[in-house]
Symmetry: C2
Subunit: 252 residues, 2 copies
């Protein structure tokens, strides 16, 4: 399986960012929000800027539990590696997989509705002592650029107290407005129709449109229309990219 | 059992508020925080001001689920009755009981550490249709006045999605910094020592210090010292008030 984080880099950082103003939320306001969350929830907030490829990290008290130094931080990366390094690798892969799916889905959603959706993941901390400590992780895309690109992401990490009633789902995408689950670790949503899946399988086998049309007894125009729909749904521009995405989020 | 909400009124609204400035967080900033929570969490935020006896209500999308009109609102009460009215009465009593305990505890805690503590409660919605919908309720005292009185309370109400991993504890006070539970619906913390409880029982029976001293074979000075400690711990100024508090939070 391809490294999902590389694919996320391609997707997130490959977006177009026009220099014009008119973002849904300014960087300065987003920083205030990130800081408030770390203060009021005692967690760690990470605000990542896809345009400048920077992150702003605000350490609340949970940093002590994770053995991280609590100093406000600006890094030249959208990945908070100091923190990600203490997370169990399996959980980290799960997180990346959901993030890719989230990006795919939110790209198709109107700019003003995007903050209704969030990823919630339960993460194990990698520690030598053998005590398993769980973190609740939330990710929200909180601001989009005027050309509809996803610009600012807010990651929130909080302690899950070891007490009945406190828990977090293993990993899913939630619409907080409706309470509806859009996709989870166990079950990814049906982005592609069954016909589209069938065609996507053949694309992965390297088949051309003409061959696919013959095999499925469809006209080449129909196959090409399906192909276009698939690329649009996956937010990709060619077959190779489409294959990478369906593999990464295990769509087929 | 005495009406706990009346006791909360006496406690919360009976605090002294010097007209000087120097609050830990300004009303304007607190309003911004309340608004942000309702926006980013799609819940309802209520900011209550103990000094002016007003509340500021910010309705997120969950208001639709509760059948409430979504308009920003300023009311002349610290109780958001329009919302509280749709909560199951048993759960509401549980909420008030925890709030009283929370007030008692937070009064003894340094002003700057108060925002580390929050109440978390699971509330049933009272609806005619017979579908049980759960809300997660959080309460934080987010600002204190220069004379250490508890000034601004932030209540956050959110939907609990009907999906594994989403839940909330029945009712407890949490320190989000340490993950430690301070007291819960099932088990209130040991505010009073066993000797103090013994004396408090006798005070409730209407016994005077002299009688208590004779009964427990203690000096009257010792009894009076215990009495003072009890009143201080319960944040009350006389025996009648002390009785009301221990009854309300079921301390004995």
């Amino acid at each position: 399986m391809e490294h999902i984080r590389e694919l996320l880099d391609i997707k997130l950082l490959g977006q177009s960012f026009n220099p014009s103003s008119g973002h849904t939320l300014s960087l300065e306001n987003a920083k205030v929000i990130a800081q408030l969350y770390s203060k009021f929830e005692n967690g760690i907030s990470v605000l990542s800027d896809m345009k400048t490829r920077k992150s702003y990290i605000y350490y609340g008290a949970v940093a002590d539990v994770l053995g991280l130094t609590r100093r406000q931080n600006e890094i030249n990366s959208i990945w908070e590696d100091e923190l990600l390094d203490v997370i169990h690798t399996d959980d980290l892969q799960k997180k990346y997989r959901l993030e890719l799916l989230y990006f795919q889905l939110l790209n198709t959603i109107a700019v003003n509705d995007r903050s209704d959706y969030e990823i919630i993941t339960k993460l194990r901390i990698q520690r030598s002592e053998g005590i398993t400590q769980f973190l609740k992780h939330r990710l929200l895309y909180i601001s989009s650029s005027p050309d509809n690109s996803i610009w600012l992401a807010l990651c929130l990490y909080n302690l899950i107290p070891d007490y009945p009633g406190f828990d977090a789902p293993d990993g899913l995408i939630l619409n907080t407005r409706t309470g509806r689950i859009l996709g989870s670790e166990e079950k990814f949503p049906e982005i592609l129709s069954s016909r589209e899946k069938e065609i996507m399988q053949l694309i992965r086998q390297g088949k051309r449109s003409k061959e696919i049309a013959e095999k499925l007894t469809l006209s080449i125009n129909t196959v090409n229309r399906h192909r276009q729909n698939i690329f649009q749904k996956l937010n990709v521009s060619n077959a190779i990219e489409a294959c990478r995405v369906v593999e990464a989020i295990e769509l087929l």
